[in-house]
């Protein structure tokens, strides 16, 4: 995967996203900390080994279910920054749900006062090797 690339795979009939985040993308999460409803993902559905603002085992690779926590539409990636995105002048990149307009940042964290109540769900996943990812199971050790 190229830096910044988003890949969608099907798991349990649902889209799962794998986003390879660039250092700039990861840095943007600091800026969105104040804008999102649950920056530490305390309420979010995610395995215990997913923590902090990056919400990933390896910060570079963000894995989550591409299903809005509101009514289950699949949000659209809006990677263009600022006014180019058509969302706001300070847009840091993220996702927009086409159904009811919920916004999420690059760690799937929902912005404040959106229809969606929670951050996007991170499924169980584990790295079988540096290049192979298994979705749906935890690693043996954890």
């Amino acid at each position: 995967m190229l830096p910044g690339e988003l890949k969608t795979v099907e798991w349990q009939g649902k889209p799962v996203w794998i986003l390879r985040r660039t250092p700039e993308m990861l840095a943007s999460l600091k800026k969105t900390d104040d804008l999102v409803a649950d920056p530490e993902s305390l309420r979010a559905k995610q395995p215990a080994y997913i923590k902090g603002e990056a919400r990933a085992i390896k910060d570079e690779f963000f894995v989550c279910e591409g299903i809005c926590t509101h009514l289950g539409c699949s949000p659209t990636a809006k990677m263009a920054l600022g006014s180019e995105s058509g969302i706001s002048d300070s847009w840091q990149g993220g996702f927009l749900c086409p159904c009811h307009g919920s916004l999420f940042d690059l760690a799937g964290r929902v912005y404040k006062s959106m229809p969606a109540p929670d951050n996007l769900v991170v499924p169980k996943h584990t790295y079988l090797s540096d290049t192979r990812l298994l979705i749906g199971e935890d690693s043996k050790e954890s």
Binding site: E10, Q12, H70, C73, P98, C99, P115
Partner: protein
């Protein structure tokens, strides 16, 4: 020859009440003589029901409710609809009749309901006619919703996804409820199969039963009319017919045939020249096969659901405060207006429970409730309207103004429901939602305050 026909009829009548049924339900059914334009939509609804059933029978012969992919990688259900459109002889017209019929059904039914609102057709003694009608409206919405999944296009899939997930917001049982409706954890082949079953057998059976009940009740109590005059109370002529009454046959047979002809002109024009209805009757995104991995950039329900969809979208967490104030006002008014002590207590109890619910339960849940309530409120009209007269012709300017506001709100909500959500649109739809609810909630007071004119003895008729 005529003698033999009469003998045959006598033979049947001795064994089955054929003549009786014909005469009581239509032939000798006495209706007021002053029906106007607004009185054709009942028979048109029957016509559309027949069109839907007949075309539906032929569609089921070729349609396959199967979400698996065929050799070309297209879902079988979607491909079978394309097959009907391209390969089945006459398939395209059968399907366009059915899809246009769905929209026509709602056009006709909304106008039929508006007629009822204008002339007070829900008032005593027609409460049951009205309640059967509300049940028909509910069935129609369910029928349309289940049918919309069948082509298995993008809008089918994501529309069902959103609506089924709505039920997930019901406290405690929500998750289980949406699982029960879907038959799976995601909208899938299981969902498609059960929606097909509901669309072609379960709901139509109930619908036909309700239509029969609606008509039987109507022919028992007699039709209302644009003056709201009860012709049954009038003196009768030599034939035992009320002064302002006429037989449905041949008078209204002719009128209804004329109405059907005009309707079919418009209907055929849509079927032949604009079957997609500009993307409102058949949505453009639904010509793309269902893709569980990608939601279309803009999803909206078909036009006839948009007023209720707008009410659903308007119910955000900010809106709950408005709604709380609204319920407190209605509750307070009820408390001071109701005489009976138990009724007063009930008003306080219901208001309290609602306000607590608004505070502790999700706005998402209340959106679903409000959407359901805004449909069901029609059922209460016979008991909410306290005007001494039925028809808008003799009601005062207050009622006319309120009804006009209600209709404007309904149309605005419908229009906003087809657009993507915007901050201004949300505020406008919140105002319209409150006014929509207010039409029903404040009806006992404004209909009692309204300055009406006395109803005449005879109907007005030129």
């Amino acid at each position: 020859m005529q003698k033999q026909a009469q003998q045959l009829l006598d033979w049947v009548d001795a064994r089955f009440p054929l003549t009786f049924l014909w005469e009581s339900q239509w032939g000798k059914y006495v209706a007021p003589k002053n029906f106007n334009f607004w009185y054709i939509f009942g028979s048109l609804a029957m016509l559309v029901l027949v069109i839907q059933i007949v075309t539906g029978i032929f569609l089921v012969m070729h349609y396959k409710p199967d979400a698996s992919l065929n050799a070309a990688g297209v879902p079988v259900a979607f491909a079978s609809v394309e097959y009907i459109m391209r390969d089945v002889p006459g398939g395209w017209i059968i399907r366009y009749l059915h899809s246009t019929g769905a929209s026509a059904f709602f056009v006709v039914v909304y106008l039929h309901m508006f007629r009822g609102l204008m002339y007070g057709s829900y008032r005593k003694p027609r409460e049951l006619v009205w309640l059967f009608g509300v049940a028909i409206f509910l069935c129609l919405m369910a029928e349309a919703f289940f049918g919309y999944l069948l082509p298995w296009g993008q809008m089918s899939f994501w529309g069902a996804q959103v609506i089924v997930n709505l039920f997930g917001s019901v406290p405690l049982i929500g998750e289980y409820l949406s699982l029960l409706i879907r038959g799976d954890y995601v909208v899938s082949d299981a969902t498609l199969n059960r929606f097909f079953s509901f669309h072609v057998i379960a709901i139509p059976l109930v619908l036909i039963g309700l239509v029969a009940a609606h008509l039987t009740a109507l022919h028992e109590v007699g039709s209302n009319n644009p003056d709201g005059v009860e012709i049954k109370k009038q003196p009768k002529d030599a034939n035992g017919i009320p002064l302002d009454g006429i037989y449905s046959h041949p008078y209204y047979t002719i009128k209804d045939i004329f109405g059907a002809v005009v309707f079919l002109f418009v209907f055929a024009a849509v079927v032949f020249f604009m079957p997609e209805g500009g993307g409102y009757f058949l949505e453009f995104n639904n010509f793309i096969p269902a893709d569980p991995l990608k939601t279309p950039p803009h999803i909206a329900p078909v036009w006839y659901f948009t007023p209720y969809y707008s009410i659903l979208r308007a119910t955000t967490s900010d809106f709950m405060l408005w709604l709380g104030v609204f319920v407190l006002i209605v509750g307070g008014l009820s408390f001071f207006s109701l005489r009976h002590k138990l009724a007063k207590l009930a008003a306080v109890g219901v208001t309290g429970v609602l306000v607590l619910g608004f505070i502790f339960l999700d706005a998402k849940f209340w959106g679903v409730v409000l959407m359901g309530v805004s449909v069901l409120l029609f059922a209460l009209l016979p008991w909410l309207d306290r005007s001494p007269v039925k028809s808008i012709r003799y009601k005062g300017s207050l009622y006319k103004a309120v009804l006009a506001v209600f209709v404007v709100c309904f149309v605005v909500l419908g229009y906003l429901g087809i657009l993507p959500p915007t901050p201004v649109g949300t505020i406008v739809s919140q105002i319209c939602s409150i006014l929509y609810l207010g039409f029903f909630a404040f009806m006992p007071w404004y209909t009692a305050m309204d300055r009406t004119q006395p109803e005449p003895e005879r109907v007005t008729w030129q």
